[in-house]
Amino acid sequence: MTFNSLLFIAFLAVILGIHHLPLPWRTRKLNLLLASYVFYMAWNPPFVVLIWISTLLDWFLAGAISRSESARTRKSLLSLSLIGNLGLLAFFKYGGFLLDAFVDFASLFGIEFHPADPGIVLPIGISFYTFQTLSYTLDVYRRRIEPSTSFLDYALFVTFFPQLVAGPIVRARQFLPQCELPKRATPAMLLWGLSLLVLGLFEKVVLADGFLAPVCEAIYDSDAVPTFTNAWLGSLAFSGQVYFDFAGYSLCAIGVALCLGFVLPENFRSPYASVGFAEMWRRWHITLTTWLRDYLYFSLGGTRRSLARQEFNTLLTMTVCGLWHGASWNFVAWGAFNGSMLVAERVLTGLVGQLRVWQRTSVRALLGFATFALWTFSVALFRASDLDRAWTLMTSMLGMNDATGALPAGVSGFDASAALGICAAMLGVQIALKNSSLRSVAARLPGWVLSLLLATLITCIVLMPRTDRAFIYFQF
């Protein structure tokens, strides 16, 4: 079930109604758990079994880890959890990719191998809930948290529908304490939650799907070699689309959770106002970045190793980050590109970072612009259907293709102007909100202004033609 469907609005109304009935807290949690399974099963019922496997596996293993005093046993139990969870992820998400890679590798040695299409269906949200359950077991193993004493609370942590299929990736220590005391949203929480839901839907339905996706698709999904201008226009549109799509989903998730009385962590904090890739990744998909930092980068040695090893670890972590986004060489390359940017930035900062010139506003603005331009350049790897198409787009953006022509078919002057205008506004708003928050801005607005703004957003959402574009991050 997607947030941008009428069905979800009806579903939410029912769940909110039940959640606010004078029922025992345990009954209301059970309602949320069942609702979460229904939410997931609306996509493909049999795949809920995978969530149950993941839930049960880590419930029992984390409990056993906690009870065990033997380091060896604890490590073995953790390995079981890693093999179980990552094995499921590897099979369902990377099975086809690994098979293709093997076939390509074999062909290098003249071995022609033509396996049958494995026909593996990617279970929606598997990357998200796998990381969530893994973090629980890893935290218990590292003795950062005690295992939950309530299976209901733990199952709800794994399955909580607002963030089940596309994050934010929640940690047990953030969620489980919220299950202990009865939760019911206060009127202020309900109002703010619904406001975030409306804003998230506006970002997804109107900005991402309504205005930016058509421009991006016309350029990326065509076979034609784009002009320099069109390549940048398409990539800029996708930079905006992927932000509004995913940040929009996160806002919806946070808003829906808030309506139920739960607080989820922030996932985006004005990432396009960043100066440098390090800051960008502290502001973009924060819950994934911190997960990779805590459980992968630090496990590889973090900053305790030599400088060269640190840079290698950064590169490796970001490549895994790319691969997490999708089972294709495009995502591997995209992750490696971002890792390279982080390494280059750290090296340059070490060499010339102490110079005062970097603190000048104009220079920081230029660096911010360069960061966004490089990010936009890199999204060609993310969005293109394959590496060949990504290469075509990137060489066009570098002016290396001599294609000429006007706007691509299906994109009017208005479409292009609207896409550029939306991206400019997006940058302006993010720069303005860089050291602030939506909540603080909203708090300063009179109630009637906020109401008019929300009314405008709701009207715009209704006035967009319906599409069946799923959220981009559902595929991850």
């Binding site: 469907s5 493909n44 309504g210 009314a455 209704v462 319906r466």
Partner: protein
């Protein structure tokens, strides 16, 4: 939030009135999910499945068919702007289908490169067709049937394109669609296709014409699909609906009826019906050269099915295929 919702509802109500006053009316957005709803209605019950593209989609009244044949359930499976053989192939592979397939097509549709034109919709329906999609589609259809503001024609993007492009608000759209996927054209609102469209079509034809022998040889699988349906008690009618003016001239130039259509008709077990054999069908006005107007739909439906009845589509048949032609074909 209550104030915001009230203001939004009031604004949308105002817009609804505004667009209605300008002649817009609600229309259902056709998509794979709506098609799947109709495809699911094709089962072992007596069904008349209408297959084809926009010509049959915008020219037949399901109500009229239901009235003529109360024992059959008519289902609109035509998909606009795409050649129709993928849907015929899909019906052929469906053992439940024992009804009547009325397939609107041109000789060009037999070119194998066009067989998969409608396959993406067929596949979308074969993939797990989820409860979520069904309910969401029903909810959407309910709103789209009733509200102009749900129509793509008056979406923010279209309004922006109109205002900033031509300096005008979008005019009412001339094609209307219903929840059962039937459609109609209001030629009072029609605007001819923009310049540049026709040369593209000429180029399109020039690239795709096979010699008649190659064309006939390549159409063998189509014959097999028809056989599959007929052998389990179903029937198939291949109809060539009217075209006029340049459209008809181009069709005849590239696929002369006598060498293509008639050649296939001579050897198929399907009932075939070419509009030029029927003065009633040929007499309908086609302002765009390809589609009739909304007012003619009931009369056109009657003319089409009268013609099919006259050609024995609904008659009892024990051995529909003429023997010698079958032998010749198998050789």
């Amino acid at each position: 939030m209550a104030l915001a919702i009230a203001v939004a509802v009031a604004t949308l109500a105002g817009l609804e009135q505004f667009w209605r006053a300008r002649g817009h009316r609600p229309t259902v957005i056709d998509d794979e999910a709506l098609w799947c709803e109709q495809r699911e209605r094709v089962d072992s019950r007596p069904t008349i499945a209408l297959v084809g593209a926009s010509r049959i989609l915008l020219a037949t009244s399901l109500e009229r068919i239901r009235h003529r044949y109360p024992d059959y359930e008519p289902v609109q499976l035509a998909i606009g702007a795409k050649h129709s053989l993928a849907v015929l192939r899909d019906l052929a592979s469906d053992d439940d289908f024992r009804g009547i397939a009325v397939v609107s097509l041109t000789a060009q549709a037999f070119e194998p490169r066009f067989w998969d034109d409608q396959e993406d919709w067929v596949q979308a329906c074969r993939a797990p067709w989820r409860l979520e999609q069904r309910v969401a589609r029903r909810l959407r259809t309910g709103l789209e049937e009733r509200l102009v503001v749900m129509a793509p024609r008056v979406s923010l993007r279209e309004v922006g394109r109109g205002v900033f492009g031509s300096g005008e608000l979008p005019s009412p759209w001339w094609i209307h669609r219903s929840a059962d996927r039937s459609g109609s054209i209001d030629y009072a609102l029609w605007k001819p296709a923009p310049a540049g469209y026709r040369p593209v079509r000429r180029f399109y034809y020039a690239r795709t014409v096979s010699s008649e022998s190659a064309w006939l040889a390549a159409s063998a699988p189509v014959e097999q699909w028809i056989d599959q349906i007929v052998n389990r008690g179903g029937r198939v009618a291949l109809v060539r609906l009217p075209t006029a003016g340049d459209q008809w001239k181009r069709d005849e130039t590239h696929y002369p009826r006598a060498r293509y259509w008639d050649a296939f008709a001579a050897r198929t077990v399907a009932t075939t019906f070419h509009f030029s054999d029927d003065p009633r069908l040929a007499a309908f006005e086609l302002p765009d050269g390809s589609h009739i107007g909304a007012g003619d739909i009931p009369a056109f439906t009657d003319a089409l099915f009268d013609g099919l009845e006259a050609r024995g589509l609904f008659a009892n048949r024990s051995n529909p295929r003429p023997g010698p032609l079958r032998v010749e074909f198998r050789e």
